[in-house]
């Protein structure tokens, strides 16, 4: 069994080059990529037996530290907890990944909505239950890797409930999120199939009922899905090298042109809901079907391919063509890295993950398990030294600040209503809410750089800064403080465990630092939080609780925590 030595290996040295365009990361890892097939303990070889010759001594297995485990869980889950840290240390990364890959979903969003009565006729024209099921799954379900990857996919393959022109919106949206979660460990080609025939996506990107060209009226097919499928979901605008850099550098080559969009749009015509029964939401989880009367059956040309005859066969040709495009592995891989690990992965890192996307080792393209493993076990994600790199990491997505706190402190909703709600307001809540993107461009774009800052001057991007401004930074602290203090409705934290450390400020702050912040608070931050905790006597009325809440809130508000490194 391969192991990794977190202390004794060569550290990749980031190398900067300033020649690339303003929106491109310039970090390059030139050190050799480390073999990271397995990490941590869980199988330690055993000793010699009987008369056999002694086996060669296994390399020493160095288990993950609590901080290393928490850091991994900060990238791979919706938030670390004391018990998941302990479990990961015991199991090791490889074992943990295998466990998570094998873990079935406990319940789908759809089934939970039905089981909790949201399919009652009174809900046909509202969104009741949607936020509840999203928050509940992110916070409590044990299939945490699936939840995290599913949310990364939702950040990229965007559908927002506010943009649905359907009834039973909560169910339509639940069916879409279920597609992403159900297939998070499947194949990206299947994901393309399933989002293309999903009712919510079809409504959001306006191809539900899309009609073929009409010679009499001059009407042309709706181009929305054809364009955004290529631009945002699979290819991007310019040809990419496997490492995500532009082919041709300063003189890039367009991936497609307007004629490709117009041609591809003809393929996505005639897609309609599976049936006309609107008294229940059921049709929203059935794949769309072809209505021959509005489907284009003549020849359609796009991306140097043409198809004729229409129907699902034409869609298959279109998706096969797109999936085979050399841009897909780097385009998708880089965005998943940005969602899970760092805003500015080096070309080397993107290239290693893209190679796993292109071929999982046994000739399969698009194997999400291989992609996820490559992202999370890469040296650039795992090396402790990266934490000290001034440009490494990402601003923590606001939603994950909430789920991180809620998981760390065991938030439950005894009435099972999870009344956290829509957190989109930047001035009073988080400025982000899963499944509520205002447009297909999501709350933030992978290429966003905060203009005229040290970040943009360095040629780096920082997507989450698109929803960070003078009001949101205060709105967040106000909102998260209300949660830390009282929870939301009956969704309340349980501070019993952390309160056992409340009398000892060092122990209290250290534990909060390890669990919430993966040990990333600086010495200075730790010492100022400890001093603030000690400004309240542990023996005062509510002293222990106030001390714990001070430690938690100050951690959640500190820039050290807000940056996932």
């Amino acid at each position: 069994m391969d192991t990794i030595d977190f202390d004794g290996r060569a550290t990749p040295e980031p190398e900067r080059s300033g020649a690339t365009g303003p929106a491109l990361p310039t970090v390059t890892v030139v050190g050799s990529a480390l073999a990271l097939a397995a990490c941590g303990g869980g199988s330690d070889g055993g000793g010699a037996t009987g008369g056999s010759p002694p086996p060669p001594a296994p390399p020493p297995v160095i288990p993950l530290s609590d901080i290393q485990a928490s850091r991994f869980l900060g990238q791979a889950t919706m938030g670390a907890t004391r018990s998941t840290i302990n479990a990961l240390v015991a199991r090791g990364i490889t074992g943990w990944l295998n466990d998570q890959f094998a873990m079935p979903r406990a319940t789908t969003h759809w089934d939970w909505l039905v089981a909790n009565g949201y399919s009652a006729a009174t809900n046909i024209n509202n969104e009741a239950g949607f936020d509840a099921t999203m928050w509940r799954q992110m916070i409590v379900e044990p299939d945490q890797l699936r939840q995290r990857v599913g949310m990364a996919l939702l950040d990229m393959l965007v559908v927002g409930i506010g943009g649905l022109n359907l009834n039973w919106k909560q169910f339509a949206m639940a069916a879409y999120v279920d597609v992403l979660l159900d297939n998070a460990f499947g194949n990206f080609r299947d994901i393309l199939d399933k989002i293309t025939t999903n009712a919510a996506m079809a409504s959001f990107l306006t191809f539900l009922g899309n009609r073929k060209a009409n010679a009499t009226t001059g009407a042309q097919p709706d181009e929305n899905y054809a364009r955004e499928l290529m631009q945002l979901f699979t290819l991007g605008l310019y040809r990419l090298n496997t490492d995500g850099t532009l082919v041709g550098g300063a003189t890039p080559t367009e991936t497609y042109n307007q004629l490709d969009v117009t041609g591809l749009a003809r393929v996505f015509t005639g897609l309609v809901l599976a049936n006309n029964t609107s008294t229940t939401p059921d049709r929203y989880r059935l794949p769309l079907v072809i209505n021959a009367a509005t489907n284009e059956t003549g020849p359609s040309s796009f991306l140097n391919t043409s198809t004729t005859g229409g129907g699902m066969a034409a869609i298959k040709t279109a998706l096969d063509t797109i999936f085979a495009h050399p841009n897909v592995p780097p385009f998708v891989s880089k965005q998943l890295i940005q969602r899970m690990v760092t805003s500015n992965p080096s070309p080397g890192y993107v290239g290693r993950v893209a190679s796993a996307f292109a071929d999982n080792g046994v000739g399969v393209r698009g194997d999400m398990k291989a992609v996820i493993r490559a992202i999370l076990t890469d040296s650039e994600a795992r090396a402790d030294s990266m934490m000290a790199d001034a440009t490494f990491g990402k601003l923590r997505e606001p939603v994950m600040r909430l789920t991180g706190w809620a998981r760390a402190f065991n938030v439950t909703s005894p009435a099972n209503t999870w009344p956290i709600g829509d957190t989109s307001s930047p001035s009073t809540r988080l400025g982000q809410s899963m499944g509520r993107a205002p447009s297909v461009f999501n709350f933030f774009r992978p290429g966003y750089t905060p203009p005229s800052t040290a970040i943009s001057n360095a040629g780096l991007v920082a997507p989450e800064f698109q929803i960070t401004n003078e009001q949101s930074v205060v709105g967040y602290v106000n909102f998260i403080n209300a949660l830390v203090n009282n929870g939301s409705g009956d969704a309340k934290p349980d501070y019993t465990e952390i309160l056992t450390k409340a009398a000892d400020s060092a122990a209290l702050v250290d534990e909060v630092n390890v669990v919430l912040a993966a040990g990333q608070l600086s010495t200075a931050t730790l010492s100022s939080i400890r001093a603030a905790v000690d400004s309240v006597s542990a023996t005062a009325t509510n002293g222990p609780t106030n001390r714990a809440k001070i430690a938690i809130l100050l951690t959640l508000a500190s820039p050290d925590y807000l940056t996932v490194k």
Binding site: S452, L553, L554
Partner: protein, 461 residues
């Protein structure tokens, strides 16, 4: 922004207004006008504000400013069949500009009727076929790739960015911010030179000017201005220190800088705005997010002297214009929200006595196709835009009416308009009014040198 929310709240608003009746609305309006008048004294005599109203998603030009003369209407109707507005619905909003368009006539969308009096009073101009360009471009040049074109045409995020910044997504400064660069030193608070009431937009960031985001209710207080946190004033002080403390990590450090600006500006701005309570600005409709944003802009302008501001650039926006679907029902609603908000804002600046110091203009990703896709229109290029303000040479339609239909000299496919007025020229006209000198124009608009200086001013102000 969800169209659904607008719809719900707008209906609710109409219901409430009906229930209140006119008297209920009018009474506070009279008292508040007096209050606004007093506030106007707090505006410096050489004050100017430029207000960008961005319509995210790509506004449909053809149903915003439909052709009205019989021949043009027939071409329009033929091209978009089931999403065309009926001609008789346009009679009431047909425009009768002071200038001749050679037999062509346009109407405002019926949902924009509230702006007709502003146009007729000469305080609103229409600018035809504005769009992103690098240099003057003919159809033949477009087709043969003979001139440089804005990269990533027809892509939302990139054309939004190109309109705002003369560069696609990833641009690091916009022309509103670059104008701010030139004027921030003359303001009491440099931070309040470029103010965004709708979040973040590259438009408002300069090379040195930084945009400041304000909430629709003004700046937000940290923990309600509490003096202590969990019974500790020391913990409250630590909270502020941590939020704003510097870090080695570039992302953490930038976050702290934003927090620092927020906490630094809060006290000054909230104190100033306390003298201009929202209740004094009753013209703005409720349930209209654009109106909410323009209301805080009006409130900020009313206290500009208190803040020492002489030149400010504001940004507001409304989403929901990407109407590939349901255009016939959704577009009147969205463009009606825009018209109602702009009318309220113009009236308010009038009541404040500063209408001639405030210039409001529209912007969008791009126009849309003229051709229908059965129930909507797809991504286009050129589009008309509106400019409103006391200094506008209004009741005039600027630019050349584009030919209507497919395969015309102005069409690059399905009625996508090849722009005849560059965003740079539109912007230069606004910047010139604001006080940007000809010598500084290329600093603000890097491509303006590609146009003859005589064409830098479209003439609408």
């Amino acid at each position: 922004m969800s169209c659904f929310e607008h719809d719900q709240s707008r209906r609710a608003f109409l219901k409430r207004s009906a229930a209140l009746g006119m008297a209920g609305v009018a009474a506070p309006f009279v008292t508040s006008l007096a209050a606004i008048g007093e506030a106007a004294a707090a505006v410096s005599s050489d004050y100017k504000a430029l207000v960008c109203v961005f319509l995210y998603g790509g506004n449909d030009y053809a149903n915003t400013l439909p052709p009205y003369d019989a021949a043009s209407y027939a071409l329009y109707q033929a091209a978009r069949s089931n999403i065309a507005l009926p001609r008789d619905a346009l009679t009431a909003t047909a425009l009768n500009p002071a200038n001749s368009l050679g037999g062509r006539q346009y109407a405002l969308a019926p949902a924009m009727a509230s702006l007709l009096p502003v146009f007729d009073a000469g305080r609103m101009a229409v600018v035809l076929n504005v769009g992103t360009l690098v240099m003057p471009t003919t159809k033949a040049q477009y087709q043969s790739n003979a001139v440089r074109l804005p990269p990533k045409l027809f892509s939302h995020n990139d054309q939004q960015s190109y309109f705002q910044a003369s560069n696609p997504e990833g641009a690091t400064s916009g022309w509103g911010g670059r104008i701010g660069d030139l004027f921030q030193s003359g303001n009491g608070s440099a931070t309040l030179t470029c103010v965004n009431a709708s979040g973040n937009a590259v438009y408002l960031t300069g090379r040195s000017a930084v945009q400041y985001a304000v909430g629709t209710g003004g700046p937000i207080a940290l923990l309600n201005n509490a003096a202590s946190l969990y019974s500790s004033s020391a913990a409250m002080a630590t909270l502020k220190a941590l939020m704003t403390g510097s870090s080695a990590n570039i992302l953490a450090n930038e976050h702290a800088r934003v927090s620092q600006r927020s906490l630094d500006t809060y006290t000054q701005l909230s104190a100033a705005l306390a003298g201009a309570p929202a209740a004094n600005f009753p013209s703005f409709p409720s349930g209209n997010s654009l109106a909410d944003q323009l209301k805080i802009v009006a409130r900020m302008i009313s206290v500009s002297a208190t803040l020492g501001a002489r030149r400010q650039v504001f940004f507001v926006s409304l989403g929901g214009f990407d109407m590939h679907d349901n255009l016939a029902t959704d577009h009147p609603r969205q463009i009606g929200l825009v018209a109602d908000a702009l009318k309220a804002f113009y009236d308010t600046t009038g009541a404040m006595g500063v209408a001639d110091k405030v210039m409001t203009f529209t912007a969008s990703d791009f126009g849309r196709t003229l051709t229908s896709n059965s129930d909507g229109a797809d991504h286009g290029w050129g589009s008309m835009h509106f400019v409103i303000g006391g200094a506008v040479r209004g009741r005039t339609i600027y630019g050349t009416p584009p030919a209507i239909g497919s395969n015309t000299p102005d069409d690059v496919g399905q009625g996508r308009l090849l722009p005849t007025i560059a965003v740079d020229q539109y912007a230069a006209t606004l910047a010139n009014w604001f006080g940007v000198s000809g010598g500084d124009m290329a600093t603000v608009l890097p491509n303006i040198g590609n146009y003859a200086p005589s064409s830098w001013n479209i003439g609408f102000v």
